[in-house]
């Protein structure tokens, strides 16, 4: 019962890893964000979240095996 977390750009540098296995499955994206903020001391209020490569809102539910990506404001182009 776990999920995979991905951290990009400055988040990857701050966490020190770009992929992390999260050992349990919070009910929602919002709950996971609170846990991640507490664990790494990262403010995630301006960070988007994608579940399995689709943008997801804080009330989106999580399932075992999901990949959750933390996506800071993008700057491509």
């Amino acid at each position: 019962m776990m999920i995979r977390l991905l951290f990009f750009a400055h988040l990857g540098e701050q966490v020190g890893e770009r992929q992390v296995t999260w050992p349990h499955v919070p009910d929602t994206v919002g709950k996971l964000k609170e846990e991640v903020e507490a664990r790494y001391g990262l403010p995630l209020d301006r960070v988007m979240t994608a579940v399995n490569e689709e943008y997801a809102r804080d009330d989106a539910p999580l399932q075992p095996g999901d990949t959750v990506a933390f996506i800071p404001p993008v700057s491509g182009g």
């Binding site: 400055h10 990506a69 993008v74 700057s75 182009g77």
Partner: protein
């Protein structure tokens, strides 16, 4: 170069290859946009850039932009390639090509594509200046999102 219409690559981008993906007998117009690495921004000198992407999702989001364009401008066909990794001054970071029967749609759809890329495609650039570096996107020199976050399709 990949045959896919929507691609992330770590190789230099050939503008003509991207254009050729959208050229066809029923199109009389092709609008192309190339974003290049600029040396000076607000008086600050860039030495080089580093682009990072969530590659699999970025390619999906580029394809979504192509689908949005096809819906909004029927007859328009889109191809987008974005480069990642280290880019030097003058290097091409992104090429967007849109073909359409007539020119107005090609211009409009092309511009729509670059604005959407800057909203929803998970790609980030890290500026290397003479006096330091920073990821762009959560820095003061970039625009804030009007709504605090990119628009999510719900």
């Amino acid at each position: 170069m990949t045959e896919s219409l929507f691609a992330i690559t770590s190789e230099p981008i050939s503008v003509e290859d991207v254009m050729k993906k959208v050229m066809r007998p029923e199109a009389g117009a092709v609008a192309v946009f190339a974003g290049t690495v600029r040396e000076w921004t607000n008086g600050k000198r860039t030495l080089f850039l580093q682009y990072e992407a969530y590659v699999s999702m970025a390619e999906k989001m580029l394809a979504q932009i192509g689908a949005e364009i096809a819906e909004q401008w029927p007859g328009a066909k889109t191809a987008i390639t974005h480069r990642i990794g280290r880019l030097e001054i003058g290097d091409i970071a992104v090429v967007i090509a849109v073909s359409s029967p007539h020119r107005a749609e090609a211009y409009e759809a092309n511009r729509y594509a670059i604005e959407r890329i800057k909203q929803i495609v998970p790609i980030w650039k890290k500026e290397q200046w003479e006096d330091g570096s920073a990821w762009i996107g959560d820095q003061l020199e970039t625009k804030a999102y009007p709504s605090g976050k990119p628009e999510v399709n719900e």
